[in-house]
Symmetry: C2
Subunit: 557 residues, 2 copies
């Protein structure tokens, strides 16, 4: 394929880049200093100098030892569409100094990302600190204009999919995980983004209709407490008829059928107190609207004395007409205890009235759940089948930001290093390649960075992996499999083939598969083993050579 | 004014509602259950029943005793534009059951908010738990469709403006506060929203160009570490000329002028080590681009040995040509110490070289600042004039969500209460009014809720203010001023006059003024006094009457 045919000025024919675009993401979604620097570069005639930047993070979030990389597709879509409008350029002009030369704004007008190359780890991969998630090459003025949007698009995306993956890990594979966070999210697209990236991290569905529409994520949701409170009594239900599921006949008074079942349940159960009539009316009304999808919120008044008997009465009445109720949702109280008691009640109904499967009705739990409460529920034991998780998940309450950075590692083929008194903040210079080395058991063993032109690690050949900064930390590894991490997602004029952007489901599958492939001790909640991240011997030597040359010689005082 | 003229179907002529619209905010930005409930209401013929919902929060964030209310304008804009497109309706149809009746979708097609009334506390007000921020009245199916978007739009907005107000409180009035959070924000409009609402909460400017354009917020930003690292030496600067500020002549070799000043500084300062030449080149280049706005990031290599002398050399050279440098930014290390040392250096330059004002150059500090680090800096003493604050501010790291809720308080003129075993979660029933009562010193004393039709509290007349739930907590108050809190922002068909939506600057001023008006002990960081929130004696009695009627009678076991 020739470079020109593959050039980024042409929209790719597979259409993946023309998917849903976040209208907030324009070149002005940027820090002002990216524009002031662009002007300064331009004024100095330096704007076309070829720079290489690495995008990476320094520390895994949530006290864990892994991160799920997300947000790549949005970045690629951003550069595919990168173009300043006249209106935007006028605003930049007003925001800079009036003394700025006109020719600069002509330059901005012509700017696009056709001369930029982006290499990235595939979205949904499990990733680790210091290893570049993206390597971005291009004219320095342009690449700097990508810094803020890229970091913004990747930071929260990766954070929240990691959070979702952690929730999945503690909930276990067999549970259904529902993301219910929209109302508490950090703004509208904080909510939409959370829905998308929680799905990548292993959630099954969302309540967020916009996210369902934009990304094809399965939707879930039934009714709220207000729905229950809005009813006063069964008298409010005017149309009481319900056709049997098989269409063979119509029950003219579904309400009476429900009431009959309620009496039987109360007789059997030995509870003669009245259940709440608002609730019974709401459940009945909801069942009439959705006889095939009856899932009721049972804690508006009292779960065991009112919600469960009311639910069962409606569910049994539905059963008489050939419908199968779905289950309940618990949104307060002692979820472990209430789930046990509900399950016991369902099983006793199954036995008493001979309704097969009634004991297996789905129990959904919600109410400020997070990793810790899921863990506590597991320790106590529970009968919950599905969890609805909101606030703590979507706002990443336990750690609301990931520290993704974007560092210059080379300009005009000259490697650059950013020093810091804090060693963890020293950047790893040079245009690099990264590899994941796998061991005999199939687990990833270590990630290694090398210079761009070093020979790649080879299967079955011993290679020295060094800690980037600590001299004594090093190990020989004989990889059984070698995976190059960075792939070309935006070839610029390099002529390289562009990786296609996979659909969301594939990204999600990659994430789930990669998480399963990790050695369990890296993944455990308590004191996980850090996954090793290393550099080649040659890169190590070069880092330390640069370091000594750049660092000022201190004086002891 | 007649209802029809003022009707919400007509766009208001003052244009404030037609300001920047967040394109993510559509009726599908909703939980699915709002649509399932709408269908169930419709199917039961209940969808037109008139409901009243209160939107409020239960607890002030960040361990404080106050909250800044923000997000109202977005809500009003949302209902002004509320309309489902055919495409959206098709999607809702796919997401509900195939058995749902067609006529419901015709109903959705005709839906708007013309029959909805919204009463709210003005945006930018200081607000407290339990007091409704919004009271929303209308057909229940419509009002439920407003729940998720309203809660989403207000939750983060109020949280982040409160966070900004708290940062302002600890920084003090005289400091310049800059919001630098875009790259770490929770997604693109998490960043844009944070910029807007931090400005309301008292910040002075943002780095976020999109927010500057959308909302007219002042912009700030100069250059990054990468800009410094991208230069190698002064040889890279090809155009070395700089015109004097007064235009009278041109200095042909500004680089030499800088070098001359650097030698003088080094001689005077007794430091003969070379400063970093990349840095000197970057500063010189930046000054050539922005001679009127020279603010340099001085910590890429070594602040006192390189950054400050390099900065001063460039600043003094600019001074020779009639320009006044702005100052420096410190982004690492011991900010208190470095700001002192920098100030000392500037003052010594002022004295040594007779440059008036040089000692007063602006010192900006950034690097993971938050309320705690600002407080610590204050305790140590520092010379910082401006703070750039990012991650902790915009993600509300200390508490990433506010618990705003939306509760049904009345339907068909029947009051509704939502009970809970947790008393703090019991809702306050009835369509209500709220008042802020002021004492002799001019401070707000207490907020009080009354039934809609109770006579309002009167200036100089004793009124009993009761805790909504605790019998023993009550006090007589003689208000010196009475302010009704809820105003009509969307009149529906009520014929009431609609409050105009003020421009952002006025909202910000309201916020700053209201914060200043509060009694200081409510505002302090450590152990603040809770501001009292109360109900009238009549409302108290009614709450407890309903409570007894609704609550199931328990059994001690």
């Amino acid at each position: 394929m020739e470079a020109k045919d593959n050039g980024p000025n042409q929209r790719p024919s597979n259409g993946t880049i023309n998917g849903p675009t976040n209208p907030m993401v324009t070149p002005l979604l940027n820090d002002l200093y990216q524009f002031t620097m662009a002007y300064a570069y331009w004024k100095a005639g330096k704007h076309q100098e070829r720079a290489v930047f690495d995008l990476y993070f320094r520390k895994n979030p949530f006290g864990g030892e892994y991160t799920v990389f997300s947000g790549l597709e949005e970045c690629i879509r951003f550069i595919a569409n990168f173009k300043l409008t006249d209106d935007e350029i006028d605003f930049v002009r007003q925001s800079l100094s009036p003394a700025c030369e006109d020719a600069f704004f002509d330059y901005l007008r012509g700017l696009d990302c056709s001369d930029v190359e982006v290499y990235a780890i595939p979205e949904g991969s499990v990733v680790f600190p210091k290893i570049p998630l993206l390597r971005v090459e291009g004219p320095i003025a342009v690449v700097q204009l990508l810094e803020t949007p890229f970091v913004n698009l990747i930071n929260f995306a990766s954070l929240v999919s990691t959070n979702a993956a952690r929730h999945r890990k503690v909930a276990g594979k067999s549970k259904t995980l529902l993301e219910f966070g929209l109302r508490r999210a950090q703004g509208p697209d904080g909510g939409v983004g959370a829905s998308k990236y929680c799905y990548i991290g292993g959630f099954d569905a969302t309540s967020n209709v916009a996210a369902g529409k934009l990304f094809g994520i399965p939707l879930r949701g039934t009714h709220s407490h207000a729905f229950v409170s809005s009813y006063m009594s069964l008298d409010e239900i005017t149309d009481r008829s319900l056709r049997r599921k098989d269409g063979s006949s119509t029950c003219e008074d579904f309400v009476s059928l429900v009431q009959t079942w309620l009496s039987k349940i109360q007789l059997f159960n030995g509870v003669f107190g009245e259940t709440n009539q608002s609730e019974l009316a709401a459940f009945t009304s909801y069942a009439l609207a959705f006889p095939d999808n009856f899932l009721a919120l049972v804690d508006t008044y009292d779960v065991m004395r009112s919600g469960i008997p009311n639910f069962c009465a409606v569910a049994l009445a539905l059963g008489d007409l050939g419908y199968k109720a779905v289950g309940i949702r618990l949104d307060s109280g002692d979820l472990a205890y209430l789930s046990y008691e509900s399950r016991k009640f369902f099983c006793s109904i199954e036995n008493e009235f001979g309704v097969p499967g009634f004991g297996k009705l789905i129990i959904t739990a919600s109410n400020d759940l997070n990793e810790e409460t899921l863990d506590a529920l597991n320790k106590q034991g529970h009968e919950v089948d599905a969890f609805g998780i909101g606030t703590y998940l979507v706002t990443c309450y336990a750690q609301a930001a990931l520290g993704v950075v974007f560092k210059l590692v080379e300009i005009n083929n000259q490697p650059r290093i950013k020093l810091s008194e804090d060693v963890s903040k020293v950047s790893i210079p040079c245009k690099k390649r990264s590899y994941r080395l796998y061991g005999k058991e199939g687990y990833p063993l270590v990630d290694i960075m090398t210079g761009e032109n070093e020979p790649p690690p080879k299967v079955g050949e011993r290679i020295l992996c060094r800690h980037p900064f600590q001299e004594s930390k090093r190990a020989y590894v004989v990889p059984q499999q070698v995976e190059e991490l960075l792939r070309c997602y935006w070839p610029g004029y390099s002529g390289k083939e562009r990786e296609t952007l996979p659909p969301l489901k594939e990204i999600r599958e990659r994430c789930i598969n990669q998480l399963e492939q990790m050695r369990p001790d890296h993944m455990r909640k308590l004191n996980p083993t850090p996954y090793k991240v290393s550099v080649s011997a040659k890169l190590y030597d070069f880092i330390h050579f640069l370091w000594l040359n750049e660092a000022p010689v201190g004086e002891l005082q």
